[in-house]
């Protein structure tokens, strides 16, 4: 009784003050584990002053304790130093994490002896039979394996998806095990959570037997496992409606409301329904994979039921603050991804929103989400606002009920399935068409964190205003911030020369300051090994994974020129993808390359036909305001290494030589034809192979700095020790993408240079 009275007192005391404690929790989590610590530190200290000015000791004390608790929790889950795990070991793989792609098996596992540590598991399947076994498996597996433990690779390029960060924040995983041999394999579904996961996988396999794209909707909307193909996913995230296809908070609320609706129709009492929901919802949350949105929805429903039981009334702002605090205490990384930020940001925006019209509300949600979308995906589709207005009701009222209905139909009612499937196919095609319309997609680039914070705060200020004049004022500030950020990205003060870390291969981006012009030298690519059909993986190539996100992050929406040095796969293997995904004005290559049938295949069917420029040594090129001189090859060839196009240029008063894969003979040819040629920066030919980089050549050029572009653990052993010794002997310092990741030189027109490597964290 006394406890209840004290709780009541505390609740009354904290009423409509909980938002401060929630904000403190968020800022602390950001401060401990995020980038740019000074920004959250500044905001947090302001929050402390603000709460102190409330002159409420209880609130202040609670805020300080939340800061301390979240701070320690967040600090404790920082990644520890990597230690090695002995092999062979016994591991336990989660049933619903097993994925089979071509001949690759992947999953999430825990070590059986120390349950706490989890890691990714990769295994190369040996035979089609083995593949079939794992594809149809829905049990949790206990495996005894030998293999190699490696830390998960961090991103090595700007704009690239950082798997290491993602795995740590989403699953607390920092190692991957590359399994070389599986010694034994047994089922283990004893734990009740394992049983739940096994059922989930069973249902997943059942749904996957439905025709496409119905199966994608079924798995996404019912068990929260969104497995569409890559283009579909890309299209939907570009349109900003990807959250509709996978189970989210929005859908869970619709489901719960549906349950209440039908239960009351069936004359169940509300109390009974609430009691069942209280038991079933947390289990359901685990079953569907506990995404942030789902966690928020389930917690809110549970909180509502509890409050209803004790007959307390709380405001919406207090409820969301409590959920924020509880979820952050459970997982300090909750808000480090786009999904979490959007889920909480949008519900907070809806609560604070004071515009009454539906369009105004949707507009406000867009204003609040736009900066986050730009920060994480660098571009914005103009159709997003309208599509959300149409698609949200469509999903909630039509698609979700239909999908749930279809899921419970017996499997042999195929005509209904094919009817629904036909409708969904038509919908997908419409969406694909809209997504592929390039003019609607604005490539913005990545705005800075300060501007993003400013934009989000302004958006919240706008949506909270009731007076037209104040809204207008806020909109002007918002627009100004957006335009300033756009200008900063698209009209930079500095030019850059960037060696993209594309793996084994070359890809170099050159841009000019102010009115930015862009030239890409080579695209990179992978040598395709012959594979049997069951071994073929569905995967993205280097251009899609690395180059295109980097260009988007820089706000580059078209290339003024692509230079192709020669026809090897590691230089232009991904040319076709690039030409299909981004408009290119000119393509420059050495004469004779078009005679090569391999090369010609790659130019088939690009969306926009660029102009082709075949060149030879002695040709002067004016590419997008930059002057290049070709110094090699001297006669047309077939595009082999020795026919490489070598380009000389001056950027910001420094001389550069881009050498492609030219061999020692070619290098000697260059110094005999151009005996007075000197450079400041030299791209070492052929990834540092000893077949190139003749000492006489380098001695004559007298470079200040050398650059090597080669892949990690490449099969050719590039760069060769011999080349590195030559460089050391001639006292030429060098950087290699193999160890430094992406290497960027920024220059201004007056010749100031500074170099920045993206860095590979140990």
């Amino acid at each position: 009784m006394i406890i209840q009275r004290q709780a009541k007192w505390l609740v009354n005391r904290l009423e409509d003050r909980l938002i401060f404690i929630g904000l403190a929790a968020i800022l602390t989590a950001w401060l401990v584990n995020g980038q740019r610590w000074w920004l959250p530190a500044l905001l947090l200290s302001y929050l402390c002053i603000r709460v102190a000015s409330l002159a409420d000791k209880v609130v202040f004390f609670l805020m300080i304790s939340i800061i301390v608790v979240v701070g320690t929790l967040a600090f404790r889950v920082r990644p520890p130093r990597i230690t090695t795990i002995p092999a062979p070991i016994n591991i336990h793989i989660q049933a619903d994490s097993i994925k089979v792609n071509g001949d690759q098996l992947s999953g999430i596992a825990t070590e059986i002896n120390s349950k706490s540590k989890s890691f990714l598991v990769y295994y190369r399947l040996q035979s089609p039979q083995e593949k079939l076994y794992f594809q149809n498996n829905y049990h949790n597996l206990n495996l005894q394996i030998t293999g190699e433990v490696t830390p998960i690779m961090a991103a090595t390029n700007r704009g690239q998806f950082d798997n290491r960060n993602y795995q740590w924040q989403a699953h607390r995983i920092q190692y991957a095990i590359n399994v070389s041999q599986i010694q034994s394999c047994v089922y283990d579904d004893h734990h009740w959570i394992d049983q739940l996961l096994s059922w989930r996988q069973q249902l997943y396999l059942h749904f996957m037997r439905f025709p496409k794209p119905l199966n994608v909707y079924l798995t996404g909307l019912i068990i929260g496992k969104f497995d569409g193909d890559l283009t579909f996913k890309q299209d939907m995230s570009q349109l900003g409606i990807i959250h509709l296809f996978s189970l989210s908070g929005l859908h869970v609320f619709v489901l719960i409301n549906g349950i209440y609706f039908f239960a009351t129709r069936l004359r169940f009492t509300r109390e009974l329904v609430e009691r069942w929901l209280l038991i079933l919802l947390p289990l359901y949350c685990l079953f569907v994979g506990a995404g942030v949105g789902i966690r928020r929805a389930v917690f809110l429903t549970v909180l509502n039921i509890c409050l209803h039981q004790v007959k307390w009334h709380w405001g919406k702002l207090d409820k969301i603050s409590v959920i924020m605090i509880v979820l952050l205490l459970l997982d300090p990384y909750l808000l480090f991804n786009l999904g979490g930020q959007l889920s909480f940001g949008m519900s907070l925006a809806l609560i604070l929103n004071r515009w009454h019209s539906a369009i105004g509300r949707q507009l406000n949600l867009m204003l609040a989400s736009l900066p986050l979308l730009l920060y994480f995906s660098y571009s914005w589709h103009l159709g997003t606002l309208i599509l959300n207005l149409i698609m949200i009701p469509l999903f909630e009222v039509i698609i979700l009920p239909i999908i749930i209905g279809v899921a419970f139909l017996p499997f042999d009612m195929w005509h209904i399935h094919s009817f629904v499937n036909g409708g969904l196919t038509a919908l997908d095609q419409c969406l694909h068409f809209v997504a592929q319309t390039r003019t609607l997609n604005v490539i913005f680039g990545q705005p800075s964190l300060i501007i993003v914070t400013g934009l989000v705060m302004t958006a919240f200020w706008i949506l909270n205003q009731t007076q037209q004049r104040n809204r207008l004022k806020g909109s002007v500030v918002y627009g100004t911030l957006l335009v300033v950020s756009f200008i900063m990205i698209h009209f930079p003060l500095m030019g850059q020369i960037t060696l993209i870390d594309i793996g084994q291969g070359d890809s170099i981006l050159i841009t000019t300051p102010f009115h930015r012009q862009t030239v890409l030298i080579d695209t990179g690519g992978k040598l395709k090994l012959p594979l049997q059909s069951w071994q073929k993986k569905i995967q993205q190539d280097g251009v899609t994974k690395i180059t295109l996100p980097f260009l988007k992050q820089q706000g580059i929406s078209h290339l003024d020129a692509i230079v192709l040095t020669h026809q090897d796969a590691d230089h232009l293997g991904d040319l076709q993808t690039l030409l299909q995904s981004i408009p290119v004005v000119r393509v420059v290559f050495a004469q004779g390359l078009t005679q090569n049938p391999h090369f010609y295949q790659k130019l088939v069917d690009p969306m926009i036909k660029p102009h082709y420029f075949p060149v030879l040594a002695g040709d002067q090129l004016n590419l997008a305001g930059m002057r290049f001189s070709a110094v090699h090859p001297f006669q047309p060839g077939m595009g082999a290494n020795e026919d490489s196009l070598v380009l000389y240029t001056e950027l910001g008063h420094k001389r550069w030589l881009f050498t492609g894969d030219v061999d020692q003979a070619g290098e000697k040819g260059i110094i005999t034809h151009y005996p007075s040629l000197k450079v400041d920066f030299l791209k070492i030919a052929h990834h540092g192979s000893k077949t190139s980089s003749n000492p006489d050549f380098i001695q004559q050029l007298q470079p200040q700095f050398a650059l090597i572009s080669s892949g990690r653990h490449n099969r050719y052993g590039h760069p060769d020790q011999e080349t590195l010794q030559t460089l050391t002997k001639l006292r030429v310092p060098y950087l290699n993408t193999q160890t430094s990741g992406m290497i960027t030189f920024r220059y201004s027109l007056n010749g100031n240079y500074h170099v920045r490597v993206f860095g590979v964290k140990p």
């Binding site: 009423e15 409509d16 401060f20 603000r50 409330l54 009334h313 709380w314 919406k316 609560i351 909270n464």
Partner: protein
């Protein structure tokens, strides 16, 4: 939170400005639907000088009467609400029955007003001592508790409260206030705001105004009442 007037549960959703701005946050004591039932004064249909309800925006007869009586004065009065049944009920509960909690009902509206209108000195009209003893609190001062007020006036013992007189009797009331404050308080301020709960004929506020003049105040005197009858 429970509304003091209708006893219903209600919530306050803080605005972004309140969350970010420094300073304490008031908890409202009445729900917005109860507060909305009081009729705020519409300046389009009010006397510009005393806020009395009328069709035109010209100075009303009352004000012309006061102007003629005290030619040297410039009369300027602010008020927030009209006097209607709802307001009558409120004052019945607050003043007659003495529900002290109701003093906070209008505090957010009053605070909003004084955020935009500021004066050098604020002075509440005091009740006479006997009624103060009966009620147990100063009802005017309680309404304006967020302002720093000075006690400059004292009310003489009167036989009958103003509310129980008719209009003629009210206007005929002789001076009921005397100056009780420190005379030095009148030297510096350029403007004094006189605060009262209800403005009916303007007699009491004008008495208070003249009392200050007799005490030697030369600056601007503006009057304010929560309600204009």
């Amino acid at each position: 939170m429970r509304c003091l007037l209708c006893a219903a549960q209600f919530h306050q959703t803080l605005s972004v400005q309140t969350i970010l701005k420094l300073g304490p946050i008031m908890r409202p004591t009445v729900c917005s639907s109860c507060l909305d039932r009081f009729v705020p004064i519409n300046h389009q249909n009010a006397c510009p000088s005393c806020q009395r309800y009328q069709e035109k925006r010209t100075v009303c007869q009352d004000c012309q009467f006061w102007q003629a009586k005290y030619p040297g004065e410039s009369f300027r009065h602010h008020a927030l609400f009209y006097y209607d049944d709802q307001m009558q009920q409120f004052f019945q509960d607050y003043k007659a029955r003495g529900d002290f909690r109701l003093a906070t009902v209008f505090s957010s509206v009053i605070n909003d007003f004084f955020r935009h209108h500021q004066f050098d000195t604020y002075c509440c009209l005091p009740p006479d001592l006997q009624r103060l003893a009966n009620r147990g609190f100063d009802h005017v001062k309680a309404l304006f508790s967020s302002l720093e007020t000075l006690d400059l006036l004292q009310k003489r013992q009167s036989s009958q409260p103003q509310a129980q007189k008719n209009r003629q009797q009210r206007l005929a009331t002789p001076q009921i206030y005397s100056f009780s404050g420190d005379y030095r308080c009148l030297k510096h301020p350029r403007s004094i705001l006189l605060l009262d709960d209800i403005y009916t004929t303007g007699r009491t506020l004008t008495h208070a105004r003249m009392c200050l003049r007799e005490a030697g105040f030369k600056g601007k005197i503006v009057t304010f009442s929560l309600v204009r009858a």
